[in-house]
């Protein structure tokens, strides 16, 4: 009966320990993200920064915001905003990266 809905009040409440575990995981990821920022890794600094941020955001979305147990439609709605930002960034980058404009000296 893990996913049984009580229709008027949302999905079954998660356990206290699961929330605390997520919180600890978030703090660990925060320290990891600050720590890795000081290790010279070239472009991988950016990758680890973004990667860890995505992991943290997913933890909040899935557990604190209960996307894991709430209706699947909400998962789609939640991802649309992020997807559209990626379209905006991605297609604008096709211009900026190929325009041959660099820093103004």
């Amino acid at each position: 009966m893990k996913n049984s809905h009580t229709p008027a009040s949302g999905p079954r409440p998660p356990s206290l320990s699961s929330h605390l575990k997520v919180f600890i995981a978030l703090l660990v990821l925060l320290l990891a993200s600050v720590g890795t920022a000081y290790i010279p890794m070239g472009p991988f600094n950016l990758a680890s920064n973004i990667g860890i941020a995505v992991a943290k955001a997913l933890l909040v979305l899935v557990f604190f915001m209960r996307l894991k147990t709430d209706s699947p439609l909400l998962r789609i709605v939640a991802s649309i905003g992020f997807a559209w930002v990626l379209v905006l960034i991605g297609l604008s980058l096709t211009d900026i990266l190929t325009r041959g404009i660099g820093p103004v000296s």
Binding site: L30, A37, V60, V77, G81
Partner: protein, 214 residues
């Protein structure tokens, strides 16, 4: 249905339809919020691609200790508000109220710490428009970084402020007894909003504070 009269608005058939609509509406609203901040992140990305050095230099001027502390505070507040919703669902009204108050307090703490950062940055002359006194090769494009830093953090701060007020109203309504285990949608919606404010910061933090540290 006496229950219906209490909390179901007339356009809905029943409480579950009302909750479904409210939740979907809130998530849709959050998607628009993601886009509001997304424009700033996009502007940041497109400027940083062109001025990687200036953005690294700018980022090094931010206070990484306070930034980390702020992130931890917001993460903690996300946890407390999630617990508040859980407690309301389980019938723990008193605990839920105090958890909501704690969340609001953490939000206010975040704003205070960030205020200290702003004051220091003003003294150092890092605020475009108000007081920008930098020189050196990166000074001009570094203004782009600080411009975006300020627009983004102020816009985020506005959201935190709204969230703090919202959470206090929810705490007060919880105390008044508006919510029951079967009906506490307003608290759920406020919590979702607060989580989103947290998620925005989760992305702002590495992009603004952690560039060029290595």
């Amino acid at each position: 249905m006496s229950y219906r009269a209490a909390s179901v608005q007339e356009q809905f058939d029943d409480a579950s339809q009302q909750r479904e609509a409210s939740m979907l509406g809130m998530w849709a609203f959050l998607a628009t919020e993601v886009l509001f901040f997304g424009v700033l992140i996009a502007a940041y990305t497109l400027c940083r691609v062109r001025f990687p050095e200036a953005f690294a230099a700018g980022s090094r001027r931010t206070d990484v200790v306070l930034g980390t502390l702020e992130t931890a505070v917001l993460l903690a507040s996300s946890c407390t508000v999630a617990l508040a919703v859980r407690d309301l669902q389980l019938g723990g009204r008193r605990a839920a109220m105090w958890l909501l108050v704690a969340t609001a307090a953490l939000g206010a703490t975040f704003l205070c710490i960030h205020g200290f950062e702003y004051v220091t940055e003003y003294r150092e002359g890092l605020i475009p428009i108000l007081h920008y006194a930098q020189d050196g090769p990166e000074a001009i494009p570094m203004q782009l970084f600080f411009f975006l830093y300020y627009v983004t953090t102020l816009f985020h701060g506005l959201h935190v402020t709204i969230g703090v007020v919202l959470l206090l109203v929810m705490a007060w309504r919880t105390r008044r007894g508006d919510f029951r285990p079967r009906y506490h949608t307003p608290v759920e919606l406020s919590a979702l909003y607060w989580h989103l404010v947290d998620i925005v910061w989760i992305f702002v933090f590495p992009l603004m504070y952690l560039v060029g540290r290595a």
